[in-house]
Amino acid sequence: MREVIIIGSGPAGYTAGIYAARAGLKPLLIASSVEAGGELMKTTEVENYPGFPNGLQGPELMDAFRAQAERFGTEVLLDDVVEVDLKNQTKIVKTGNGKTFESKTVILATGAAYRELGLPREKELSGYGISWCATCDGFFFREKVIAVVGGGDSAMEEATFLTRFASKVYLIHRRDSFKASKIMQERALANPKIEVVWNTEVIELLGEGKLSGVTLRNTVDGTTKNLDLDGLFIAIGNDPRVWLVEDQVELTSEKFIKVDGRSSKTSLPGVFAAGDVIDPTYRQAITAAGSGCVAALDAEHYLTDLE
């Protein structure tokens, strides 16, 4: 029987690991087999994580998080949780490689997954012109014409990054202003390769077997037009990843895991949640890390009370 199992390996999961390990709880952190490190593994320069005045690469930051968690005895397992049973005092966690673990507490730090446009053939064309990861796929669009959809920080970052490769980057946004931070917007708007297409949404994906363009609709006057593209990068936000637990713990109306006030306590005793999976508002590496710390401290108190 484990004291703590942490599901997830972003800033929230690893910070929970650091705190739980330093409390002597020998946590098991199930990191995922192919997505360990979480969303930051797909970013390039991280400039706003305190303590690193010169910035650093997302994957570098996550390697450091992991090393710090392991240094104090967090056991990191590269496997995927496929099923949990959290209702009873003994929590059961099963993985894709067929392992079953029992634990007194579970910390859910499963983060958020990228949102899809919801258009026909989006999945089919994914990897054939459609991408959710500029740092992974930008390389293949050297001297090509591409578009980024979205208006937040990640859309700005992707568009700016992609100008290293592409000859032209359209930035398609359905409103007339961005919600991205000022510094990220300014960087994108000042880039001569980026052309912003305001008040516009993508309504159709064109091309057989490979993306060749999109149909756009103006959200103000309803007019449509086609745009030829070699690639389309989608950065329209993330949805909390709750499918593992949605029938067991209470969710908010927006489908985030519901926690009690400023704590990490879910509707089930011994089950705590942290990071983007509980956060509809801030969603930063630093807020996720803080929330992972809260979850480890809450789990520690719960375990003390059990004795």
């Binding site: 192919v34 593994m41 894709g96 740092t135 992974c136 293949f140 490979k210």
Partner: protein, 107 residues
């Protein structure tokens, strides 16, 4: 068993002329998901190497091959049989999903 690195000049012999099906892992150093899927492919190679050969193509070093096979996203796993691409898998997937995708070649 670590996968063999294939180049443009060895592609014909190592992949296209192979009697066995060959899975080509198109990858790059800077691709995080590629680094995650690589050890899983090594495991599959040790377990099913008699039925399926697994090799790697570094897209930085072999841009022509990447372009020839229309790679726009990595990791991209292409299975070749008798010189033809018979299966394409895009993106890093957990081992059980990969084994399910590759079922027809390894069982």
């Amino acid at each position: 068993m670590s996968a063999k690195h294939v180049t443009t000049s060895s592609f014909q012999a190592d992949v296209l002329s192979s009697a066995k099906p060959v899975l080509v892992d198109f990858w790059a150093e800077w691709c995080g998901p590629c680094r995650m899927v690589s050890p899983i492919l090594d495991e599959i190679s040790s377990e099913y190497g008699e039925k399926l050969t697994i090799v790697k193509v570094n897209v930085d070093e072999e841009p022509t091959l990447a372009q020839q096979y229309g790679i726009t996203s990595i990791p991209a796993l292409h299975v070749f049989q008798n010189g033809q691409v018979v299966k394409q898998i895009v993106g890093a997937k957990p081992k059980p999903s990969l084994l399910a995708d590759l079922n027809e070649f390894i069982n």
